[in-house]
Symmetry: C2
C-alpha cells in the first residue's frame, strides 16, 4: 500500500473566482501538466442543511456527479494521472460506483479499460460501465476471487484501483476542501461517513490534514464511521481494540457499496478514526430502509449505501445534545439501484 507525499501551497483568496469544480483546488492535486487533466467540470456539489432530531446536519450532494456518485472525484484525478504517465489501458475491480467512474473517465481519456466483477453481477449494476465501452471481465467465485484476478491483471496493466491507487484518494480529498470552503474556510466538528473500503474516510483525512498543515483551517473534524451490521469488520476491530482487522462473514445487505468484509486499508481507516477521536457505529438493515424512505419522502432519491450514512446520522444525533457542526453526504443517486427500490 502506497501513499503520496508532496508539498504545495494554496491560497483561498486566489481560489474564489475560479470555476466551481473540484479542480479549483488545482495546487493540491498532484497532476503536473494541465494538458493531462481529464475532467467533466465535476464537483463543488451543494451543501444542504437537513434537520435530524433538533440538529442541523449539512449534507454534501455528492450524487450530482456525471456518473451519479462521489467516486468521480477519485476517477478524474486518477485517470488524469494515468494520462500523464502515458498509460493506454487500465484495470479495476468494482461492479458499483468506482467501476462506473473509472470506466467513464477512461472513455473520456481514450484509455482502454477492463472492469473485473463477480460472475453473478446483475446487468443492471454494470449498465454505466458497459455504456462507457469498458470490457467486463466476469470472474467466478467470491468478491475476493474477483479482487485477486484484478491484482493478477494489474501485474501487467495499470491498476486504476479505488483502494490501492493513492491518486484516487487525492481526488476524493477534494470532498474536504469543498466542505471547508463552503463553510467559510472552517472545519466542521464532526464528519459522518459510510465506510466499506473507506475511500471517503482516507480522502477526507488527507484533505483536512493538508489544510491544517497549510494553516487554512485549525483542526481535523472528528470522523464517525458508519457500517452496516451485516458487514462490520471496522466496527468489530475498533471496539475490540485489536491492531489487525478481524475477518467477518458477510450477511446480505442492501448497502452493497460498503459490504466489504476485508478492507484493504482497514488499519489506516481505524488509525484515522482513533486519531480524530471519532468512533465506528453500525446500523441495521431496517434502519437503512427507514432512512431510505425518510429521504425519499423529502424528495431525495439516494442509493441504499447512502441511506446507511443517514441512518448513522439519526443514531448519532438522537443521543447527542452537543452543539456541533455535523457534515455528511449523499454518496450516490438512487437511480443506480432502482431494482432495490422496487423490492
Amino acid at each position: 500500500l502506497l501513499n503520496l507525499e508532496f508539498s504545495f501551497t494554496l491560497d483561498p483568496k486566489q481560489i474564489q473566482n475560479r470555476k466551481s469544480t473540484l479542480w479549483r483546488y488545482r495546487e493540491a492535486i498532484p497532476i503536473i501538466d494541465d494538458a493531462n487533466i481529464v475532467s467533466l467540470d465535476e464537483g463543488h456539489t451543494p451543501l444542504l442543511a437537513l434537520r435530524f432530531h433538533e440538529h442541523l446536519v449539512h449534507i454534501k450532494q455528492d450524487y450530482l456527479f456525471p456518473t451519479n456518485s462521489f467516486k468521480d472525484r477519485g476517477a478524474t484525478v486518477l485517470i488524469s494521472k494515468a494520462k500523464e504517465l502515458g498509460i493506454t489501458s487500465v484495470v479495476e475491480d468494482s461492479s458499483g460506483n468506482a467501476g462506473s467512474a473509472i470506466a467513464t473517465y477512461a472513455a473520456l481519456a481514450g484509455i482502454g479499460c477492463r472492469i473485473f466483477v463477480p460472475e453473478n453481477t446483475s446487468a443492471e449494476k454494470t449498465v454505466l460501465i458497459q455504456s462507457a465501452g469498458a470490457r467486463l471481465e466476469k470472474i467466478p467465485g467470491t468478491r475476493e476471487d474477483t479482487a485477486a484476478a484484478a491484482l493478477r491483471a494489474a501485474q501487467s496493466t495499470y491498476y486504476a484501483s479505488h483502494t490501492w491507487n493513492p491518486y484516487f484518494f487525492h481526488g476524493t480529498k477534494t470532498f474536504a476542501y469543498e466542505i471547508a470552503e463552503q463553510m467559510g474556510w472552517q472545519s466542521p466538528d464532526v464528519l459522518i461517513l459510510p465506510a466499506g473500503n473507506g475511500t471517503l474516510v482516507i480522502g477526507s483525512y488527507i484533505g483536512f490534514s493538508e489544510m491544517v498543515r497549510l494553516g487554512i483551517i485549525e483542526r481535523i473534524p472528528k470522523i464517525i464511521v458508519i457500517q452496516t451490521e451485516a458487514v462490520a469488520p471496522l466496527y468489530r476491530t475498533f471496539h475490540d481494540g485489536s491492531s489487525e482487522i478481524d475477518p467477518v462473514i458477510s450477511q446480505p445487505t442492501i448497502a452493497e457499496g460498503i459490504a466489504i468484509a476485508q478492507p484493504v486499508r482497514g488499519k489506516e481507516i481505524l488509525r484515522i478514526v482513533r486519531q480524530t477521536e471519532g468512533t465506528v457505529l453500525t446500523v441495521s438493515e431496517d434502519e437503512i430502509r427507514q432512512a431510505l424512505t425518510s429521504m425519499s419522502n423529502l424528495g431525495f432519491m439516494i442509493e441504499p449505501t447512502s441511506a446507511a450514512a443517514i441512518a448513522g446520522i439519526e443514531l448519532y444525533t438522537a443521543s447527542s445534545d452537543r452543539q456541533e457542526k455535523i457534515v455528511s453526504l449523499f454518496t450516490g443517486h438512487g437511480l443506480k439501484t432502482t431494482i432495490l427500490h422496487r423490492l
Copy 2:
C-alpha cells in the same frame, strides 16, 4: 395559455459572488418572498466544449440535476410559487422528466402531488415519481386522454404543468442566464435545442429576451429546433409556412421526451424560431442511436431524447462552415432510460 409580464433589474456584478445555483439570478425569478423558495441548490451546470466536424460546441451538462434532468429548473420555481400561493396539492401529467421533477420538489415542499400517466407506462419510467411519494393516476387510452384527465383534475387542483403553467418557463429560462454568464455575459450565435413541448425553446427565449431588455447582452441567439422524424409537427408546420400546428400521427421513437404530436404551445415555439431566424431540423432514429453511441464512447451516458439534439448538432455542423458560437445541452441522464440502452 398565459404568459407572465413583470419588470426587474439585474446587475451581473452583484451576482458574481453568489452561490453557484440557478437562484443566483434571484431578481429575475418571480417569487416574492425568499422564505417560499423550495430549492436543492440546483443548477449552474458546467458548460463543456465538445468537437463536432471542426466546430467546438458548448454543451450544458443539464443531466447534473437532483432528478437528473433540466426539468428541475422549472420545478424549483413552479413549486416555490405554489408554496407562495399557499397551494397544498398539485397535479401534473408527465411520465418522464417533468413528472419526476414536479413530484420531487412537491415532496420537498410538503405539497401533495398526483401525476397522471398513460395506463401502459412502465414501472421503470415512474420510479422517481413513486420514490418521491407522489400518487400515480393511470389513465386508459392515449397520451392525449391522459392530458385531458389532468386538465379535468386541474379544474379543482393547482396544475403544476410544464406546458401550461408560465412559472415553469421562468425557471427554465435560467438555462439562458447561465449560458450568458458562463460565456462572459455574451450570447452564443446559435442554440440547438430538442423540442417536443418546447419548454427549453420558450424558456431560453424568455431568458435571452430579458437580458437584451436589461442591456446585459446584445442579441438573442438563433434557435435551431431538433425533432425526431417519427414525431415532427413543428418541422412540418414550420416548413409548410402554416400558422396552425399540423396534426401528425406519431411513429415509435426512442426519443420519447420529444414525442409530442400536438404541442400545446406550438405556435409560440414557431414564432420564436422565425423571430430568431432559426429553423427546425429532423433526425432519424438511426441518427439518434448513433449519437447515443458516440456520446457513450466519450463517457457521457445521456437519455435518447438528449441524443436527438446531439444528432441535430452533427447535422447542423456538418453543413456549416461559419465560425459560430454554438451551444446545446444534455437534457437528462441515461440512467433514467437504461432499458432503452439495453435494447
